[in-house]
Symmetry: D2
Subunit: 424 residues, 4 copies
């Protein structure tokens, strides 16, 4: 696929109508897959990486199950077996295929899934046009669109893994990466005090961002810049991966068992370290931010530096300050202006998800979404850590300061990086 094939993304929040946003977001998902070969849609190299065609089907099933089957009487289910296949984990929505076995299904084919998408899309349009939507309908639609945007990022993560772990080392889109990696000046201080954390928007927010509540935060400083490849290399050269004193106990077990010695997508040949990106394979750019880092690695790196990771509160405050204009001139990445790889070191510029030291938990007064959707977020509040700030693969306008991403501490196939903090 040539560079100009994938147009600059619009900020869908600006679309005048839900109907227009629906069309644009649904189209973009298909678009993201367009550089793929059929074979790329099918495989699942590890349990956490789903086949792209599964994402295409699952996001469609989401609208079918949560809206059309419930609220659009004339709708007829496309294929009753698809619920088994495309339900991810909603126990209340019936039996579902095991996540780790998604890659064993050759059928439905990609073509079948496209039919399914078209079928559901046309009925959704029909539904939206059939009369004024209730608040419930609008809410569900927004959930579905935000859900689809989350899967757009997952698609890029999974595509990167599928192509990047292959010994033939294929790339997604041939593209010349550039970047401007001059360091920001040092640390940004957060004043101690009581801050509002979480979202109180009248518009859509995920249940895990609510309710907005007050948190007491001490004085601290957060780095303006992400940790770079060359800084991380120093950690490696200092024996970082062979010195247990820097690691959490489970982290050390993970290092030993998986013989981890580098970030994901780094490969050493002779004396040169290469980095695989969605757009090329190149000798490591020392000044660029280190990517695809697990919590275990981020935490060990911080301990080695005598520093720490920020809490999710601290990072949210920093993002709020930035968004409010404190960092004049900073803007969030333009999609594919720079490709799906970081272009600056800015820790608040939506380059890489930043690990926080906060384990993912419910806010005080948390209430899950009603009904089946109650399984969306709440049931994962265990043994995961929060990441903040978005990344270059996040859909534009999708991620705000209150947004909480979360992953298990050993996972690193998302676009994650390290932003350090310290008490001050």
């Amino acid at each position: 696929m040539r560079e100009h094939d994938l147009p600059l993304e619009r900020n869908y929040a600006e679309y005048e109508s839900l109907r227009a946003r629906f069309a644009a977001i649904r189209e973009r998902t298909t678009y993201l897959c367009s550089p793929l070969e059929i074979e790329d849609y099918v495989v699942q190299p590890v349990a956490e990486v789903s086949p792209p065609k599964w994402h295409l089907g699952h996001t469609t099933w989401f609208f079918e199950h949560f809206i059309l089957e419930k609220y659009f009487p004339q709708y007829r289910t496309f294929n009753k077996t698809y619920s088994l296949i495309f339900n991810s984990y909603y126990k209340s929505a019936g039996e579902h295929w095991q996540q780790k076995n998604r890659g064993v299904l050759s059928r439905p084919t990609v073509e079948d899934v496209r039919f399914y998408r078209n079928y559901v899309d046309s009925h959704m349009i029909e539904f939206m046009d059939s009369g004024p939507m209730t608040n419930e309908h609008r809410f569900l639609l927004k959930v579905g669109l935000n859900h689809e945007q989350q899967h757009q990022e997952l698609l890029l993560m999974d595509i990167k893994y599928i192509l990047g772990m292959n010994p033939l080392r294929c790339i997604y889109i041939d593209f010349e990466l550039d970047g401007e990696f001059s360091r920001r000046d040092g640390w940004r201080e957060i004043e101690p005090g009581i801050y509002n954390i979480g979202s109180d928007t009248q518009d859509f927010a995920f249940d895990n961002e609510r309710p907005c509540h007050k948190v007491l935060v001490g004085r601290c400083s957060i780095s303006s810049s992400l940790v770079t490849n060359e800084e991380y290399l120093e950690f490696i050269q200092a024996g970082g991966y062979s010195r247990p004193e820097f690691w959490l106990s489970k982290g050390w077990d993970w290092v030993v068992e998986n013989r981890v010695g580098m970030p994901l997508y780094w490969y050493q040949e002779a004396d040169v370290i290469y980095e695989y990106t969605l757009h090329d394979i190149r000798p490591l750019v020392g000044a660029a931010p280190v990517c695809h880092i697990s919590y275990f690695e981020a935490d060990a790196y911080a301990r080695w530096k005598g520093l720490r990771l920020p809490t999710e509160y601290e990072f949210e405050i920093l993002l709020g300050l930035s968004a409010a204009g404190a960092l004049k001139g900073e803007k969030w990445h333009d999609y594919l202006a720079g490709g799906f790889h970081p272009r600056t070191l800015s820790s608040t510029g939506g380059q890489l998800w930043c690990w926080t030291k906060s384990q993912y938990a419910a806010y005080p007064g948390y209430t899950a979404f009603a009904g089946d959707l109650g399984e969306y977020n709440g049931k994962f509040m265990c043994n995961q850590f929060v990441l903040k700030g978005g990344c270059i693969a996040s859909p534009r306008g999708h991620v705000g300061p209150a947004y909480r991403n979360f992953f298990e501490p050993q996972q690193r196939w998302m676009f994650s990086g390290i932003c350090l903090a310290k008490d001050s």
Copy 2:
């Protein structure tokens, strides 16, 4: 694919020249895949089932590695990484991808593999045309062709598994199965005596069929008919899968751990048992032979009946007698005259591989093929049982009385059945 798309198979042994056999056999492999969707070529539902595109690549690599790269100086390797991917298990041929992970590779694409086949095929033709072949060359070519024929059967086994385990229950070729399942009259007796076992042909035979040697065999009788579905159902209804006294110790563990209660490809819905075949899904035909049986099941069934499985010697003698004309009028199946599913009950008619009670071992005086090919058969002589007689998916002319197939006792995705024996 319509029925007539796959032409009746010729008996390749009859081809006048190796060159003609090469072309015909190579073409047939591709042909067997022609009903597949691209997606079907890619997946690996369980470790022992390889993606069809892997078979296409591996059989090609076999000619490239064992003939072209060694004996055809002007040949240039198609892609050096393909050896990593398409070498199955020949340690002496360099590093190879782990068998269980073949299904995680989306690349090379099916199209890429077709290019690879064409490239190697045209060089093979060139090689064969470039002058008289030595005996060594002719031998390697025959190994390659017999090897490819083995993979033709594996392809049908794997395709059946890939399509049959999918909840959408797709079929391979729509085809009306028929069959004539009247029982043969009873038992065929083998006289006690010393018999020649194994192959002494001047033509090709696998190393594990050699040397021809003498074996003392006692009086026994072997059933003329395969065990039928309805006979096997009686075993089930008698509690066969819940009574450990019929099972080998490891067999019982296998039943319990995998909750096995039926042959593979049987599905119960309400009160009806269905059988999945490559051509349809139909209520179980009681009079047809029971298929896709593990050694553990065959052995337990025999014990329940108070009988036993034949030894590989006994079965080979019986096949020899049949082949010699003792069973006038019997002929081996015609491919796709009846589809890839048994059409008669004949235990010697090449309908289903028959489990023998013989563990797979070297014959006295066994010598492995020379060089890298030494890894072909010998290293698997451990914890496997021999099956004899061929099946409706075996290429015509490929399997003779001396041919030894072998599988682990829990495996059952091949076209295997039960033929009983008794001392007499």
Copy 3:
């Protein structure tokens, strides 16, 4: 062992000297094992349950390694191989035996370990008597004693598991359990505000209790009573273990994979549910607190009730209020006055560790102990939840309001229970 063989425990905090505390605490550890048969000292039924003789050796190694070998020049190591065996997980202290394999070692024998204890004890006394101890020495001694007290509770947990999982159902000490389980009146409210959390004692506190810091807490109520067996039975009878909607995702996987349907140590025979305790096996006492509950179960129960678990902050505040006299007349359990099983429903009376919804993390400004001891607590701050309040197996005086216990969410062999909370 007869009841009177184990004397009432003194509150070691009251001992006039460290030397006296050392002698008393070390003796008590041995004492707790005195009812065991030699065989009971050796086994490890699951990875997390260590053989009692390992505890005896490990607590001894702790003094040998952290004090004698470093600060007492005339000391000679008892047996150099013991460090391999009795080092639990201190990577900086050299190679250590894998935790899960502690139960495969028959040697050193129990007698050998007693010699080891006596040897180290006599040298410790000598060391303490050899002159005034530095602050560093006193600190290490206190760590060692608190560490040993933690292992005293672990010993009781492990002994209970070793004896309770045995089909012969042995008991530890024959003892008539009694209890007074009248419910306290309802809920205790916590005023919103900023509270001091953590310890600022001049005396010993664990690193994970420090530093004392301020936390903003909202208005909430915490139950005065632990959840009872009969309340928990209602959850079971309402299908609690078969309804995924109440469970965390990982919790549901745990239920399914392990076929969990009851708290640990409950056994159903015919229609009667029995509970195994260290002192008897008796039909379930409905009014007594439910014990040996995992986080997953506590969390699911709370969700089923429409309530929640308290945070560790809330529970610490409640404990502080109680300790300060707000709950007149309440006292912590007297050891063996009531046996090692809860005697009241008081949620703050040190009956059962109460699960909190707080994942175990470092306090702001946390600093690990210096040196090798840095591995004591910090490296476990991942995928664990905090429990508060102590239990009837905790050594007297060992656990205060700031004490943080922590376990993985599926673990339940400790004396854990459920205390509910709600926003108000």
Copy 4:
């Protein structure tokens, strides 16, 4: 235990009466355990190694279940739970504890098991004295005694593993090993012909030794000497463990996965290789036979030498020739005259079990023991290889030429060695 504590073993076959044999054999089992500490009776370092106290209980349960409970009406079961614990794998005898979990049970104690033995022994004596035994009784008694003798050897194997894997490297009995390892002269030839294989004794034989039947055997030669440590070292030094071409496929996987590089009980320190025996730890004696070899290793060694392992038929013939006096002056080992470690190189002198290339299978016409005992041997005829000839840990008089031992190809904690063969 001092050397003279364990008296020379008598050949129990010579005992005048079954009653006397019963007493002597039962006593010897207890005797073999007498050097152990209580702790040694309890542990199970790996699944295949049972705790000694389990052997003591299981052999007792065998008499209780198969004789006393069935044929001695006045007998009352000692403890009904013991059947759960001490039944090894007889499904028809009721539920049984999982083999791999035998080491988690601290109770019954060793003392309890001794009571159990005494109780059952006194009732067995009473039973034998209560009147003339039927043939059935005599048969069951002989099975029980031969079974107990098998467990005597297992006890020595398991004790060696328990003590030998412990980093404290304890020995069983301090004893000065000697040996006379001069090589026998070369090869012993077996004439081609038809031989009787198996047992037709009127006295006791195991079901798997029957029926005696005729086998056609070709000309071959079998080494008079076992392979020695120094010969095996040459294999190691030639890269034996790093060259896949010598190994069975499953064998190579075993080597890689377990990082095998030496026989069991060899340990290298600095440049010296030590061998652990039940009696000492000593630098490897080059001229002594190599011990504790898996089938995979024996087979790889033979392939490296360009030779092969004998079949079980060939070895049985050789043993028959030896037993018949062809090897004048050879005698079977005297127990503890030389300790439980080989003293000569004789391949037929009962020094080490010799691996054969024969997979363990039923003889033609095989019938399992009747009733529950049918599970004794037959159900293990799968994925095991036969070993012949006995070893220095086999009870005297227990193992004859027809005796078939069998183990899985990766197992090597029995006293196994290598005897080579070749076609000639």
